[in-house]
C-alpha cells in the first residue's frame, strides 16, 4: 500500500489539474448558454422546431423552409405590430427527447412568441408538457390521430374525420367497395385511424371477414408478402380497396411493389393518408395511375391563391420544380391565423393570443376560409385526389363545404362523449354526458 501512497502524492498535482479542467468545462458549459439572447425590442421571435437531420428530415425540412418563407413574406409586408419577425431554427434531429429539450430552449432561452413545429405524434407528445409548463403556443401542421385538445397547441392538420372518414365514404359510394384492407405502419396514428375506420365500416354493415388489418414496422422495405396477401384478399369476388396509413419511407417500396405486381387502381384502388406530392417525388408514378390520396390540399388545385403561393414559393426556393403539399398549407393557414390573432390583441403574449385564436379566420389555398374552432382544430375542405403520371394529383371528389375538425372521435367508445372547448368550458376533454371536465371520469 506504500507504493500507492507515494503514487498518489506524486500524481496529486496532476489530478488536481484534471479536476480543475473538469470544473472549467462544467463551468463554461453552464455559463455559455446564459448569454442572454439579444431580444431586441424591434423583433418578434418565431421558433421553428422541425427535424433537419435523421429519419424525419425527409418530411420536416420542407416545413422549416415554409415557415422561413412565410416570415420573409410577412416582413416584406412590414412584419407584425410594426416589428420584424425573426425565425429561430433548431434541429431536434428526429430524436424525441431532443424535441422536448429544444422546445424548452426556444421558449426559455430564445423567448420565442410562438413555435411552429413537429411532425410525428410522438414528437408532439414529447413537447406537450413543455408547452403547458412554460405556457407557449405550438402550431402543429400534420394530419394526426386526434384524441387530443390542449390549450397550448393549435392543430392545423386534419383530424381523422377530416381525412379518413370522407375517403372511406368516397370509396363506398363511388367505387362500391365492399372489402377493405387497412394497412398501416405500427404506430399510434394508423392504429387509431384504423380503429376509427373499423368501427365506422362496421356501422355501415361491413362484415368482420371483409376487413383485413395489417401492420408493418417503420421503414418496412420488403412488401412482397403483404402485396400478395392483398391480392389474395381482393380475389374474393367483392370489390376491394386498400386504406393505407403506411408512413414515410415505407411508401416508396410499397408502391413500387404494387406497380410491379400489376395491381392496378381499377382492380384494387389504394387510398393513402400519408402520401402527398413530396412522397411521390421519389417514385415513378405511371404504374400508380388512379390510386388515391385524401388530403385537405393538393398542389394541382386551381385557385388564384394557390397559384400565387406556388409561384412565390418556387421563386423563394429558387427551384421551379419544388412541390407543395398539405402540411405546408396547414402552416400557411396557421401562420396567418397567428398573425391575425396577434394583430387583434396587439400583443404576442401567449395567454392573450391563445384566447384570441378561436374564431380567427384565414383563407386556405383552395378557395375557402378556414376557421379556428374552440377545440383548437380548424375547418378544412376534404379532397380525394387520384395519382397522375406526373407525380401530381387530380381531384376527383371534394366535400361540399368545409369540415370541422373533431378533437375526439365519435366512433370510439372512449371518446364519443368528449369535446374540446377552450372558449366556454376552458377544457380540452369536456364530457357532455356528465357535464364535467376531465374525460370519462368514473
Amino acid at each position: 500500500m506504500l507504493t500507492r501512497l507515494t503514487h498518489d502524492i506524486a500524481t496529486m498535482t496532476r489530478r488536481r489539474l484534471l479536476a480543475a479542467t473538469a470544473g472549467l468545462v462544467l463551468g463554461l458549459a453552464a455559463v455559455s448558454p446564459f448569454s442572454p439572447a439579444q431580444a431586441a425590442d424591434d423583433t418578434i421571435k418565431v421558433g421553428v422546431l422541425h427535424s433537419l437531420s435523421g429519419t424525419m428530415a425527409i418530411s420536416e425540412t420542407t416545413l422549416k423552409d415554409t415557415i422561413l418563407f412565410l416570415i420573409d413574406e410577412q416582413n416584406k409586408k412590414g412584419g407584425v405590430l410594426g416589428k420584424k419577425l425573426e425565425a429561430v431554427v433548431v434541429d431536434p434531429a428526429s430524436n424525441w427527447p431532443l424535441f422536448a429539450e429544444k422546445a424548452r430552449e426556444l421558449i426559455t432561452k430564445d423567448k420565442v412568441a410562438v413555435v411552429f413545429g413537429c411532425w410525428t405524434s410522438v414528437s408532439r407528445k414529447s413537447v406537450l408538457p413543455v408547452f403547458k409548463e412554460l405556457n407557449n403556443i405550438l402550431f402543429y401542421p400534420v394530419q394526426y390521430e386526434g384524441e387530443e385538445s390542449e390549450r397550448n397547441v393549435f392543430y392545423t392538420g386534419a383530424a381523422p374525420n377530416q381525412q379518413a372518414i370522407p375517403a372511406v365514404d368516397y370509396l363506398m359510394k363511388e367505387e362500391k367497395v365492399k372489402r377493405w384492407v387497412l394497412a398501416g405502419t405500427d404506430y399510434v396514428y394508423p392504429r387509431t385511424t384504423n380503429k376509427i375506420l373499423e368501427a365506422y365500416l362496421k356501422s355501415k354493415g361491413v362484415a368482420q371477414d371483409d376487413i383485413m388489418i395489417n401492420y408493418t414496422p417503420f421503414g418496412h422495405s420488403d412488401w412482397q408478402t403483404i402485396v400478395a396477401d392483398i391480392k389474395k384478399f381482393g380475389s374474393a369476388g367483392k370489390k376491394t380497396a386498400v386504406v393505407s396509413t403506411i408512413n414515410g419511407d415505407a411508401n416508396v417500396p410499397f408502391y413500387k411493389e404494387l406497380g410491379n405486381q400489376g395491381i392496378k387502381a381499377t382492380d384494387i384502388p389504394v387510398v393513402a393518408f400519408s402520401v402527398g406530392e413530396e412522397e411521390l417525388a421519389g417514385i415513378d408514378t405511371k404504374p400508380l395511375l388512379g390510386h388515391l390520396a385524401a388530403w385537405n390540399y393538393f398542389q394541382s388545385i386551381k385557385t388564384p391563391e394557390n397559384e400565387k403561393f406556388i409561384k412565390e414559393w418556387q421563386a423563394y426556393t429558387k427551384n421551379p420544380k419544388r412541390v407543395t403539399n398539405d402540411p405546408m398549407e396547414a402552416h400557411v393557414i396557421g401562420f396567418n391565423m397567428w398573425v391575425k390573432a396577434v394583430e387583434k390583441v396587439k400583443s404576442t403574449d401567449p395567454d392573450k393570443v391563445i384566447d384570441a385564436l378561436p374564431g380567427t379566420e384565414a383563407p386556405n389555398l383552395t378557395g375557402g376560409i378556414s376557421k379556428m374552432l374552440p377545440n383548437h382544430h380548424i375547418t378544412k375542405p376534404v379532397f380525394i385526389g387520384e395519382i397522375k403520371g406526373n407525380g401530381q394529383f387530380d381531384v376527383v371528389w371534394k366535400t361540399p363545404g368545409l369540415v370541422a375538425g373533431d378533437a375526439w372521435s365519435k366512433e370510439l367508445d372512449g371518446s364519443k362523449d368528449l369535446i374540446g372547448d377552450w372558449v366556454e368550458k376552458k377544457c380540452g376533454n369536456y364530457n357532455v354526458k356528465t357535464n364535467k371536465c376531465g374525460g370519462q371520469g368514473s
Binding site: 408493418t216 413500387k256 410491379n260 417525388a281 376527383v396
Partner: protein
C-alpha cells in the same frame, strides 16, 4: 365544379350501350354531339360520351377511346372541340379525324377516374375482341373474363370460331365460360362445363369469379362451384409455399447484396465499417445522377441507365472507399473497435453531405422497362426487378469469388489478410492491397446501391436501413467466409418469409433476431466457422 352524379349502375349502362351496339347502331345521336360531351369536364358527361361513342360504330370510336385511356384526348372547354394527340405527336380533330396544326391554348386533357377507367376498358374490350392485333384480342378476352358481360356472348362466340392462336383461343373459351356462368338463362349443364373451364384456369381471378357466383345458383351448380373453389384454394395453398420460397430467395438476394461488400471490408479485413450503408447509398445516388443526365440529355438510353450506373457506382463508391482507407482506416488497423467509432462518425458526415447536396427528400430512380412488371409462373407472380436482382446478386457473388481466387490482386488480398508480415516480406505492397481491398468492398456496396435503388427509396437514410441487417448476415454466416455470407443471407431471407405470414412482419422480424441470438450461442462463430487452433491464435 365536380360531378357528383355517377351513381347509375354500371352494368345497366353497359347493357344499354351494348344492346344498341349490336341491335340498333343507327340510333346513336349525331356523333359530334357525343364527342363534344368530353369537353364538359364532368365525369358523368365523359361516361355518357364513352358509351355513345363506343356504340356509334364510327371508325373514330376506337382512336377516341384508346387515346382517352392513355390520356392523349384533350378538349377545349370553350369551343367544345375535342382533339387526339396521336402516338407520333400529330394532332387530329377527334370527331372528324382531320389533322389540326396545334392544340388550342386552353385545351386540357380529359380527366378520368377509376370508374371511368373501368368503363373505358370494358368498351375497349368490346371494340377489340375482333381486332387483327393478337395482343389486343388477348387483352380484350381477359377484360371480358373479368366483366363477364352477357351481351358480348355472340361476339365472343364469333371471335372464338375465328381464332387460330391457341393461347387466345383458350382465353376466349374462358371468357365465354365466365359469361355463361353468370348468364341467368344458361342451362345447368352448360354452367357445369363453364365451371370446369374456370376451375382449370385455377388462378386467383378464377377464384374471384367463382366465389362471386353467390348462393342463388341452382344447387348442382352451386355444389360444383364450391368444390371447384376448394380445389383451386388447395392448389393455391400449395403454390403459396412456392411463393414464400421465392420471396425468401428474393429477400435473401437483397440481404446478400447489401452484405457482400461488408463481407469483404468486415469479414476479410476485419474493419467494422459502419459507413458501409452509406456506400450503398452513394451507389443509389450515382444511379439517380446517371438517370437524371440520361433523362435530360439522352432519353433514348434510359433502358441502359442501370448498365451505365453499375460501373460508375463501383468507381464512385470504390474511389471514396480508397480515400477513406487512406485517410482514416489505415491508421486504425488492429483496433477494430475504433474503426467502428470513426466510421460511425463518417457515416453521419456522408449522410449529411448527401442531404445537403441532394436535399432530404426521396429522389426518383425509375425502373427501366426490362425491370418493370411481372410474369406468371404457375400460380405465382414473379416480378422482373426481383428476378433481375437475384441474378445480379449471384453474378456479383460469382465474379467476386472468381476474383479472389484467380486474379493476382485476389491472391495478394488473401496473402495479406492471412499473414501481413510474411506478405510484406515477399514484396507485396500491403498498404496498396489494403486500400484496394477496402475499395473493392466499398465498390461492391456501391453496386448494391444501384440494385437497391430499384426497390427501395433513394434518400439519405437508405444506408441506415441495411447496415444492421448486413452485420447480422455476415456474423450469422461466419466472419471471413463468403460462402457463409451467401448461405446466411438466403437462410435469413427464407426463414423471414416463411415466418411473416404466420407471425406478421414485426413479430417475424423479432423472431429472426432472437433466432440469430440463440444460434450464435450454439455456434459462437457463425454458420461457417473456421475450426482448429488457428482460430484463436
Amino acid at each position: 365544379m365536380f360531378g357528383f352524379c355517377f351513381g347509375r349502375a354500371h352494368a345497366l349502362f353497359l347493357s344499354i350501350l351494348l344492346l344498341s351496339c349490336f341491335a340498333l347502331p343507327a340510333l346513336a345521336g349525331p356523333f359530334e354531339d357525343s364527342v363534344a360531351k368530353f369537353a364538359n369536364d364532368e365525369f358523368s358527361d365523359t361516361e355518357a360520351a364513352v358509351g355513345e361513342v363506343a356504340s356509334s360504330g364510327n371508325p373514330q370510336a376506337f382512336p377516341i377511346i384508346s387515346s382517352l385511356k392513355d390520356g392523349r384526348l384533350s378538349a377545349d372547354p370553350d369551343s367544345k372541340k375535342v382533339f387526339i394527340t396521336q402516338a407520333d405527336g400529330k394532332i387530329v380533330d377527334a370527331a372528324s379525324g382531320a389533322a389540326v396544326d396545334k392544340l388550342p391554348d386552353n385545351a386540357a386533357a380529359v380527366r378520368l377516374n377509376n370508374r371511368l377507367r373501368r368503363s373505358v376498358e370494358a368498351a375497349l374490350g368490346g371494340l377489340t375482341l375482333l381486332s387483327p392485333d393478337p395482343a389486343r384480342r388477348l387483352a380484350a378476352a381477359q377484360s371480358v373474363f373479368k366483366s363477364h358481360e352477357e351481351n358480348l356472348l355472340p361476339t365472343v362466340d364469333s371471335a372464338l370460331a375465328k381464332e387460330s392462336v391457341k393461347s387466345i383461343k383458350q382465353a376466349f373459351t374462358e371468357a365465354r365460360a365466365a359469361i355463361i356462368l353468370f348468364k341467368s338463362d344458361a342451362s345447368e349443364s352448360d354452367k357445369l362445363d363453364a365451371i370446369s373451364v374456370v376451375k382449370a384456369r385455377g388462378d386467383q381471378e378464377a377464384l374471384a369469379l367463382l366465389t362471386s357466383l353467390g348462393g342463388d345458383a341452382p344447387p348442382l351448380v352451386a355444389k360444383a362451384a364450391t368444390s371447384a373453389v376448394a380445389a383451386i384454394q388447395s392448389n393455391l395453398a400449395m403454390w403459396s409455399m412456392v411463393q414464400n420460397a421465392w420471396y425468401g430467395l428474393s429477400l435473401g438476394s437483397v440481404l446478400l447484396l447489401a452484405a457482400i461488400g461488408l463481407a469483404i471490408t468486415f469479414g476479410v479485413m476485419g474493419v467494422i465499417n459502419m459507413a458501409h450503408g452509406e456506400m450503398v447509398m452513394l451507389g443509389a445516388y450515382t444511379t439517380f445522377v446517371v438517370q437524371e443526365v440520361i433523362r435530360t440529355r439522352y432519353p433514348a438510353l434510359f433502358d441502359y441507365s442501370l448498365l451505365i450506373a453499375v460501373p460508375l457506382a463501383f468507381l464512385v463508391a470504390g474511389a471514396i472507399g480508397v480515400l477513406i482507407e487512406r485517410s482514416i482506416i489505415r491508421f486504425l488497423y488492429g483496433r477494430p473497435l475504433e474503426t467502428l467509432l470513426a466510421t460511425w462518425g463518417l457515416s453521419l458526415v456522408l449522410q449529411q453531405a448527401v442531404r445537403t447536396a441532394f436535399g432530404p427528400t426521396n429522389r426518383e430512380v425509375g425502373n427501366p422497362s426490362w425491370m418493370s412488371g411481372a410474369f406468371e409462373l404457375g400460380q405465382i407472380t414473379i416480378t422482373y426487378n426481383r428476378l433481375w436482382i437475384l441474378c445480379f446478386t449471384l453474378a456479383v457473388f460469382a465474379i467476386l469469388l472468381a476474383m479472389l481466387r484467380y486474379t493476382a490482386l485476389g491472391l495478394e488480398m488473401r496473402a495479406v489478410t492471412q499473414n501481413r508480415r510474411m506478405a510484406a516480406s515477399m514484396g507485396i505492397a500491403t498498404s496498396r492491397v489494403d486500400a484496394l481491398t477496402f475499395g473493392l468492398g466499398s465498390g461492391i456496396a456501391g453496386i448494391a446501391g444501384v440494385a437497391l435503388s430499384q426497390i427501395d427509396n433513394v434518400s439519405p437514410n437508405l444506408g441506415q436501413s441495411y447496415i444492421i441487417d448486413s452485420f447480422m448476415v455476415v456474423v450469422f454466416g461466419g466472419v471471413g467466409n463468403l460462402w457463409g455470407t451467401l448461405v446466411g443471407a438466403f437462410t435469413l431471407g427464407i426463414a423471414n418469409k416463411f415466418l411473416e405470414p404466420v407471425a406478421g412482419a414485426v413479430l417475424g422480424k423479432i423472431a429472426i433476431l432472437v433466432l440469430i441470438i440463440l444460434f450464435i450461442q450454439k455456434r459462437p462463430r457463425g454458420l461457417f466457422a473456421l475450426k482448429g487452433r488457428a482460430v484463436e491464435a
